[in-house]
Subunit: 120 residues, 2 copies
């Protein structure tokens, strides 16, 4: 699979994928004899997982630690589990923030509507 296809499937930009490779988040991607990256299905799935973690707030440094655990195989599965559990707690926090913001927005919007009505 070429880089543009992976970009499409993961939602990451091509530059971001290259940047991730350089940052050690997917150092295992092979190259063809033409020097271009060839992504396996597994590579693409891994990047899809990274994209999901990233877009919900995992910092790169944590993703890199996770990538290193991933690279050292199934022996590190308990550690990998811990990373994902920690991230799930982060999801809860983000969820709460979204909810709080929604309440604030709805209150504000209601007040705006009253002002608009009064102006009319």
């Amino acid at each position: 699979m070429m880089i543009s296809e992976v970009a499409e499937r993961t939602g990451l930009s091509i530059s971001t994928i290259r940047f991730y490779e350089k940052s050690g988040l997917c150092p295992f991607v092979q190259r063809g004899s033409d020097g271009k990256r060839r992504f396996s299905k597994t590579d693409a799935d891994w990047l899809e997982l990274l994209a999901s973690l990233r877009s919900t707030g995992m910092p790169l440094v944590e993703m890199r630690a996770f990538a290193e655990l991933y690279a050292s195989g199934d022996g590190k599965v308990p550690e990998r589990k811990a990373v994902l559990l920690a991230h799930r707690r982060r999801l809860e926090d983000r969820q709460a923030e979204l909810d709080r913001c929604r309440v604030i927005l709805d209150r504000k919007l209601k007040r705006y509507d009253e002002i608009i009505k009064d102006q009319a």
Copy 2:
């Protein structure tokens, strides 16, 4: 109100509040004769709203546009409403992303548990 109190109430850091002022997100904050910032209740509320918008993904450039509308008074309430409505749509997107990630995490975690069980 001094800056540290506003920081505590909004969850923004002191540096971020200063940075926001410099960026034109709250250019109306008064100074005492000692040169220090004095925040009114209104200022603090405004910053709390900004904090909420920011933490849920509104970019600074959009917040600045919103601040300018805010500064020009109730005439701009319809435009302000539009900004908040657009942001509420963004909340939906973020929500969906969180949900998607949660599904992926739970699936992964289940698989990890199986691997751990098999290893034991």
